[in-house]
Amino acid sequence: MSETTKTLLRGARVIGGESADVLIDGATIAAVGQGLTAEGATVIDAAGQILLPGLVDLHTHLREPGREDSETVLTGTQAAAVGGYTAVHAMANTFPVADTAGVVEQVWRLGRESGYCDVQPIGAVTVGLEGKKLAELGAMHDSAASVVVFSDDGKCVDDAVIMRRALEYVKAFDGVVAQHAQEPRLTEGAQMNEGVVSAELGLGGWPAVAEESIIARDVLLAAHVDSRVHICHLSTAGSVEIVRWAKSKGWNVTAEVTPHHLLLTDELVRSYNPVYKVNPPLRTEADVMALREALADGTIDCVATDHAPHPHEDKDCEWGAAAMGMVGLETALSVVQHTMVDTGLLDWAGVADRMAFRPAAIGRLTGHGRPIAAGEPANLTLLDPTYRGVVSPAGFASRSRNTPFEGRELPGRVTHTFLRGRATVVDGKLT
């Protein structure tokens, strides 16, 4: 870690707007303006670069405790810093499951020790993610980890009564249930999106309706009990329509989309390369376009990585035996620039909103997703949007290499990340 002193960012386009100087003093932003000077400050020439609020991920699998062979809190937060993140929400499907105050506090503490990125644990909705019995949601909220987001991600809370109760119960502390929407009976043996490609490849189909039917049910339940529900990794055009309708009713529904669902389609599965195996699966071109449009118009609130590290051997096998999931922290901003900014669908203010302001608001984080202004915490990301590079997982900070973007040219590179004024990344390298 660099010392916490004064840093002067010179000539950055603040959230993509006018060039300005930004002075960081200690953990906070001291001033934003033209022609700033500061005695003894480290000066960074940021001309032409985009200054964004530190990114916030609502959906990260850090794997610790239990699967430290694929990622640890330390390596996962390092990957997050490289990707421009200053806060990540750690999913609960660890071993043991984060379904008690003890486990969420352990993860929270490991995050504090890492120092690269704030780690906000997510608590399981049900004991052992089994969907049967509510976990001690209140105890997790009252713990040092102050859990606000609850999810059985990896599994769907498919029992309608359990889902209803969870939505109602978390109202007591302004919690939110993040649903992995997957009707289990409709996805038994599912290997990829059900459609033209699955028919040809002879792989078990994961139909869009298995996601959409759960989302439809859950937005109705959230409305009925007047609570808030968050939809994880929304992946189909039909899901977009349902969320759009729910929002038009004024219901408290939010949704996220992953970078890979904004770019990749099920055509890639024709290679039978398990690096493209993910849950929910890659969908069709029409779905990709609907997701981009929904992220642009705000129907989808935020981009969340669903960073899911897996060891090499879990992908170096036949499709059916392979694990589902992709790493995403270190490529997310580049994919968003490529799919949303360079296409004209979203400006940088939109990116700041979808990757920092809104996810922080959904998770009720107070120190993140703040405006870039004097007095605010200095959680900042500096991006060179003119950079073009080929994705090479060999250089990842993550312990895992399962990126579907290997070999692709993507734009943009995070040059600096600041966590409460301390540089965690300088010139694209971890400090």
């Binding site: 059900e194 033209v196 792989l203 036949e318």
Partner: protein, 346 residues
Amino acid sequence: MKRHLISAADLTRDDAVLILDTAEEMARVADRPIKKLPTLRGRTVVNLFFEDSTRTRISFEAAAKRLSADVINFSAKGSSVSKGESLKDTALTLEAMGADAVVIRHHSSGAPHRLATSGWIKGSVVNAGDGTHEHPTQALLDAFTMRRHLAGAPDGGSTHHRGPGDGTGRDLAGRKVTIVGDILHSRVARSNVHLLTTLGAEVTLVAPPTLVPIGVERWPCEVSYDLDAVLAASDAVMMLRVQRERMNAAFFPTEREYARRYGLDGHRMARMPEHAIVMHPGPMNRGMEITAEVADSRRCTAVEQVTNGVSIRMATLYLLLGGNEPAIAPTPATPAEARTEETRKP
């Protein structure tokens, strides 16, 4: 020919006709007292079976042995594979043993594709059935059987004729093939749709809608839910095996209802054109998709298909491994008069 045979879709019309023609030559070898050719002497063919299929395994084994290849049978049952060894480690072992060809049967769709493209092995890969994806040699032997019955007389005549004939050099242009049964889970159906279409046949799939995959509308074939409606216009009717367990997952209500709506019995067979054949890849579920009367009738080619399977697999292994040398004949003009080292008298 390509180096591997993974999908019937990889075969051009000319590739497919070449395999069928080569299989005709191989079939003639089977009629001789000594059924062996020296073609693949010193080459090693591994039968790598992750799924039980004695029928397919012995067919490939017979084919490789008739070409004088060394055959290693590697069954997943009771081996390190069932104890969690990965496909990759198994492949590396086979590579170390110097396998020239790996014939793979796997429960996971795409496993042969993975084996052929991952760089784990250098030899040829032959897909002997992968999950619910493809079974290209089955489609080739089906096409071979159809061509013998339907593609014209040995004299090159264009009309249908009854009983096996040759058909060398011909495809299946204009022939109408109906495939009936569990299309959703059938690798035989997928391979046949590709191959028969490539060979010019018109394919119609018949099944209850539950057993037709979502996305089938992009396949180069017709789909019907009504068997009776298509029988009269079929030159060949292929009945697929339907597992009784499917009814437990509500694909159809009962065996009886399935048999009544989609099974082939004597009455239905009588509605087929006189020259039309009944095919079945085996093993048959008598009383389910096919009645004993039909299965045992002279129009049913099930047993003939088994015989043809060996010829097709000989042709496939020969073309993948044998390079450009003639399979049998010193002069291509007289394939039937082929001489080999073994038949040549010193």
